[in-house]
C-alpha cells in the first residue's frame, strides 16, 4: 500500500514483511546548466508538496481522477530529484509521462532485467534524472505538457499523461530473511541506515518532465536478480505534476513555495555533492533517452546558467559514501 504522509509517499508491504517499507520524497532543486558539462549533485531545497487527488475533484479533469494518485505543484523553471529512504530492499520503477526513466521504454506493469527497468532501494539513495549513459543522468526539468518538449512527447508524439509514475515491488520475504536476517550481517545492514540522504536537503494544468543538464550519477545494477522481488505485491502511484499557474485554480490553495534561482543557490553558498558507491556496478544508460532533446532555454535562464556554470569552482563539493555518518549540514 502507498500512503501520503506530509510530503512523503510511504510504501508499506506488511503482507510481505513488517520491515518492508520505504518512503519517497520529491525534492525541489536548481536546474543545472545545460552547457555540455557534467555537474555534481545539486542539493535539495525543500520538498514538493503533495495532495491527494480526490481532495480537489471538483475542478479536476475526469481523466486525472480516473488515474488516482496525488498532485504535485511545480513551476516551469524548476527541477527535481527523487529521494528514497528505507532499509528494506525494494525494486522501484520510475517513469515520466509513462516513459521509463531508466530505459526510455514505454510503461508496462512488469519488472524486467533485460534491460533493468528499475532502481533498487536502498542501494540507490537518489534519482536525479534520466539515465542517459553510464555514470550520467540528465536532470528532471519541468516543461508544460503540450509544449512538445517532454520526454513523453518526444518519444510517443503525444501529450497524453505527463506527471510521474512509480511502481514498487518489495524483496521476497524468504530472500530478505536469507540475506539480511542472519546475525552475522547485522553490522552491514546497519550501514544502510547511515546513507546521508537528508544531507542533500541542504496554459495546460499538467506538467511534463524533460531531460535538462547532465549530472554525475550512477544507476546501480540490481545485484539480487529479478527472482528476489515479490512481483505479486506491487503498488503503483500516479503523481500528477501541476503547472504552478493552474495550481490555485484547481485546488483553491496558494502555491506552497517559490521557484529556486541560480542566484539563490549561489548566494546561500549551498554545496554540490558527489556520491560514491565503489562496490556497485552501474547500468549503461539508455540509448533512447540519450537521443532526447533538452528543454529550450530562455535567454534569462541562459545567463543564469552561464553564471552558475562559471562559478562552479567557487562552490564546495561534499563527497558522500554509503558508510558516511549522518551529520546535519549548514545551509
Amino acid at each position: 500500500m502507498i500512503q501520503l504522509k506530509g510530503t512523503n509517499l510511504v510504501l508499506r508491504f506488511p503482507q510481505v514483511h513488517p520491515k518492508a517499507k520505504a518512503s519517497i520524497e520529491f525534492m525541489r532543486t536548481l536546474r543545472v546548466p545545460n552547457d555540455g558539462n557534467t555537474y555534481p549533485l545539486p542539493a535539495g531545497l525543500g520538498s514538493f508538496e503533495l495532495e491527494h487527488i480526490e481532495d480537489h475533484k471538483a475542478q479536476l479533469p475526469e481523466d486525472w481522477l480516473k488515474r488516482g494518485g496525488v498532485m504535485l505543484p511545480m513551476f516551469q523553471s524548476e527541477a527535481m530529484w527523487i529521494s528514497f529512504n528505507g532499509t528494506y530492499p525494494i525494486a522501484l520503477k520510475v517513469a515520466t509521462g509513462k516513459i521509463n526513466a531508466i530505459t526510455g521504454e514505454l510503461w508496462t506493469n512488469e519488472l524486467t532485467d533485460e534491460p533493468q527497468n528499475y532502481v533498487v532501494l536502498s542501494e540507490q539513495p537518489w534519482l536525479d534524472g534520466y539515465a542517459v549513459e553510464q555514470g550520467t543522468v540528465r536532470q528532471f526539468v519541468a516543461t508544460p505538457l503540450g509544449s512538445g518538449e517532454s520526454a513523453e512527447e518526444q518519444i510517443t508524439g503525444e501529450a497524453a499523461f505527463g506527471g510521474i509514475q512509480i511502481q514498487a515491488f518489495p524483496m521476497k520475504r524468504e530472500v530478505y530473511k536469507e540475506l539480511f536476517e542472519s546475525p552475522k550481517l547485522t553490522d552491514e545492514v546497519q550501514q544502510y541506515l547511515e546513507i546521508p540522504a537528508f544531507l542533500r536537503r541542504c496554459s495546460e494544468p499538467a506538467m511534463g518532465l524533460v531531460p535538462g543538464g547532465s549530472i554525475a550519477q550512477e544507476i546501480h545494477k540490481d545485484e539480487y536478480g529479478l527472482d528476489a522481488w515479490d512481483l505479486s505485491a506491487g503498488s503503483r502511484c500516479f503523481i500528477h505534476t501541476v503547472n504552478s499557474e493552474a495550481w490555485s485554480e484547481l485546488t483553491d490553495l496558494p502555491m506552497p513555495h517559490k521557484p529556486i534561482s541560480a542566484r539563490d543557490y549561489k548566494s546561500a553558498n549551498i554545496p554540490w555533492f558527489k556520491y560514491y558507491a565503489q562496490d556497485k556496478k552501474a547500468l549503461p544508460g539508455s540509448a533512447i533517452l540519450q537521443k532526447l532533446k533538452s528543454k529550450k532555454e530562455k535567454p534569462a535562464t541562459k545567463r543564469e546558467d552561464a553564471e552558475i556554470g562559471q562559478n562552479m569552482s567557487d562552490l564546495p563539493v561534499v563527497k558522500l559514501r554509503r558508510s558516511d555518518v549522518v551529520t546535519e549540514g549548514v545551509f
Binding site: 502507498i2 487527488i53 480526490e54 480516473k66 494518485g69 499523461f161 503498488s235 500516479f238
Partner: protein, 115 residues
C-alpha cells in the same frame, strides 16, 4: 430516516429527469412501485441489504450510509470482522472516539486508478 432520505433524493433527481419517477426507479431496482412508496413513507421495515444497495446505486447514494440508516452493516464488512474478530474489534473500539482526520491518517491509501 431511511425512507425520507430515499424520497428526498429521488424527488430531487426527478425534477431534472423523469426517469426518477417512483414507477421507473422501482422498475430498475426490481420491486413493486407500491412497495417503494411504502419504504419512502417508512410504513414498512427497511428492505434487505441487496434492495438497499440497488436503490442506493440507482439514486447515486452511498450504500454504506444507507445501510447504516437502516440499522444494517454490509455483509462484506461483516465478513472482514468475522475473519479477524479480535484484531478488528480492538481496532474499531480504539478508533471509536477518534476524529475523522485521525482515522483517515490511519487508513487512507493513495488511490491507483486506470493509467
Amino acid at each position: 430516516m431511511l425512507g425520507d432520505q430515499i424520497r428526498t433524493r429521488r424527488e430531487l433527481l426527478k425534477d431534472a429527469d423523469r426517469r426518477y419517477s417512483l414507477r421507473q426507479v422501482a422498475g430498475r431496482v426490481g420491486i413493486e412501485p407500491a412497495y417503494l412508496s411504502k419504504i419512502e413513507r417508512n410504513e414498512v421495515p427497511p428492505p434487505g441489504e441487496e434492495t438497499i444497495k440497488k436503490i442506493s446505486r440507482d439514486l447515486e447514494l452511498d450504500p454504506d450510509v444507507m445501510l447504516a440508516m437502516a440499522g444494517k452493516i454490509s455483509s462484506d464488512l461483516q465478513e472482514i470482522i468475522r475473519k479477524r474478530p479480535l484484531l478488528f474489534s480492538k481496532m474499531l473500539r480504539a478508533l471509536k472516539e477518534a476524529p475523522d482526520h485521525a482515522i483517515l491518517e490511519v487508513v487512507r491509501e493513495v488511490t491507483d486508478g486506470d493509467w
